[in-house]
């Protein structure tokens, strides 16, 4: 019996994130890459009725022998990409499971829930790396890179080929995807700064005010649709660096330009903006 072959006894992989983070894209890439390498593969996407938003799950199995059933209730590798994913993936964790999570996006109090349950983990500040060095859109590819390291039996080259095929219609992202992939791979290899913690609550400024008006934003509701920005008659709103609950950019205000007309509050479908005039 060759050792290397039996070491790959099949992997059950669960990937979870917000709809729109690219969960299904990376699952599909892995499934295609595994299929190309003559593995037995199943991939089941699982999400709610929403077109966007809500937790999106991908159930992926890669094996050397036929797979009996595409779903599972215990996962070997779990990828958690957002806060809401943590509670969903909890029941799939066993003592043998490896949890790969975004330590720059999942908050510390969520990670605390998993303390004692998770025995093996790999934390990657994917959102931070993507935002600082690449583009927020390729954060999922960093996880794909890390996954390819953990799935030693699949060749990283094959996964990269599958990735390029997946995004064939967006050649402008090819270079960035490659970089993101390498980052993830490197992180998984070197296991830099491994500590079982999440992101410390960064104080996001919610209230902006001067003597005549107060403008308030709600990161827990904002979905970053930009309707407020384009509807502002004074062009007082722009996207800032702070992120909302979906991990997209929050609008910020230039109070010097704002005339407190209330248009941004009226047009916001999510109730994420409140403006009030101060009577003095």
């Amino acid at each position: 019996m060759s050792e290397t072959k039996s070491a790959f006894g099949g992997k059950k992989i669960l990937i979870a994130g917000e709809g729109g983070q690219g969960v299904q894209s990376i699952a599909e890439i892995l499934a295609r890459a595994a299929n190309e390498q003559d593995k037995f593969t199943t991939y089941i996407p699982n999400f709610g009725v929403e077109q966007r938003g809500g937790v999106s799950l991908a159930f992926l199995q890669i094996d050397n022998k036929p797979i009996g059933y595409p779903k599972f209730d215990q996962a070997d590798i779990i990828v958690a990409m957002c806060n809401r994913a943590v509670e969903v993936v909890k029941k799939y964790i066993t003592d043998e499971s490896l949890l790969i999570y975004d330590s720059s996006f999942i908050s510390d109090d969520k990670i605390k829930i998993l303390q004692g349950i998770v025995k093996k983990y790999l934390c990657i500040p994917a959102k931070q790396i993507a935002q600082k060095e690449l583009s927020i859109k390729v954060a999922n590819i960093i996880f794909l890179g890390a996954l390819s390291q953990e799935l030693g039996d699949l060749s990283a080259e094959q996964i990269k080929t599958a990735m390029n095929n997946q995004f064939k219609s967006h050649p402008e992202f090819q270079g960035m995807n490659k970089k993101a992939f390498e980052k993830g791979l490197q992180y998984a290899k070197e296991r830099l700064n491994q500590e079982f913690t999440g992101s410390k609550p960064k104080d996001i400024q919610k209230l902006f005010e001067d003597e005549s008006k107060a403008w308030e934003r709600f990161p827990e509701y904002c979905k970053g649709c930009s309707l407020c920005i384009i509807s502002c008659p004074q062009k007082a709103l722009t996207f800032g660096q702070d992120l909302n609950f979906l991990g997209t950019n929050l609008p910020q205000i230039d109070l010097n330009k704002c005339i407190a007309c209330g248009q941004c509050q009226k047009i916001c479908p999510d109730g994420a903006i409140k403006i009030s005039k101060k009577s003095s």
Binding site: G48, V49, E50, Q51, R52, G53, G54, E216, F218, E220, Y221, K223, G224, C225, S226, L227, I229, I230, S231, F245, L246, T248, G262, Q265, K266, I267, C268, P269, D270, G271, A272, I273, K274
Partner: protein
């Protein structure tokens, strides 16, 4: 004004609609209308299938979720069982104008004292943007990749204009766009008032952006609403005679 209507359930937020959804905007305005008329304890909210069902837990009012345009007859039943209730049927163009059109037409013919709010976003949004009765001529959808043609799909439906021809003198019928907060609030309030005053059937069609299925960004979506307004003119199409006398 608070950033959220009082009649919205805070614990179910953030709601399930896509970023930039016009339907969520219409529901926010409906929430303010319920607040301003003070009918939160009397209102019964009936939502349909499609994206509109995502609002099943949005309001802190009695809510019923039904299928395929059946929000209208269900709300008629609610109104018959409890004439004190303010019955609000909320649906999309697929439910109201396609599979459930008969309910809408007959409720209008019977002059049932309910309020129907219908979202017109020119496609079937939840199922991925297929051609709906309201899709514009030439508009590209997943089932009309070369654009909607009259030979294949017929002409777009003009719901309020159609209902106007069969509505009683007591009906209130209007069309507005969800990006115009003040007008939409005014029309929805008038429609609800028509029911509160026991006059007759009231109907508001709200043009609404669907950036995800239209594959447009926020600015392009607002521009497309303007295109829709050329085909579906805005305004009050029928005002109850009693109200116009007052």
């Amino acid at each position: 004004m608070n950033n959220l209507p009082k009649s919205w359930k805070k614990e179910t937020l953030p709601h399930k609609f896509c970023p930039g959804c016009g339907q969520a905007l219409a529901l926010k305005i409906l929430g303010y209308a319920i607040d301003e008329l003070g009918i939160q304890d009397k209102a019964v909210y009936g939502t349909d299938i499609g994206c509109s069902l995502l609002s099943w837990n949005m309001f802190d009012v009695d809510t019923i979720q039904t299928h395929h345009g059946r929000a209208t007859p269900t709300m008629v039943g609610v109104k018959h069982a409890n004439p004190e209730a303010i019955a609000i049927a909320f649906m999309g163009d697929g439910g109201g104008y396609a599979i459930g059109a008969q309910h809408l037409i007959n409720a209008c013919l019977r002059d049932d004292k309910i309020t129907v709010i219908l979202i017109n976003n020119a496609n079937y949004a939840m199922t991925g943007g297929q051609t709906a009765p309201t899709t514009l001529i030439g508009e590209i959808t997943t089932t009309a990749p070369a654009g909607r043609k009259i030979e294949d799909f017929g002409r777009p439906i003009h719901g309020p204009e159609m209902l106007q021809t069969i509505a009683s003198d007591n009906a209130y019928i209007a069309r507005c766009a969800s990006d115009d907060f003040d007008t939409t609030l005014k029309y929805i309030k008038k429609a609800l008032q028509n029911q509160i005053d026991g006059r007759g059937f009231s109907f508001v069609e709200v043009l609404s952006m669907c950036p995800v299925n239209w594959k447009k960004n926020a600015q392009e979506s607002l521009d497309f609403i303007k295109e829709m307004e050329k085909v579906y003119p805005l305004g009050e199409i029928k005002v109850s005679k009693e109200e116009s006398v007052e």
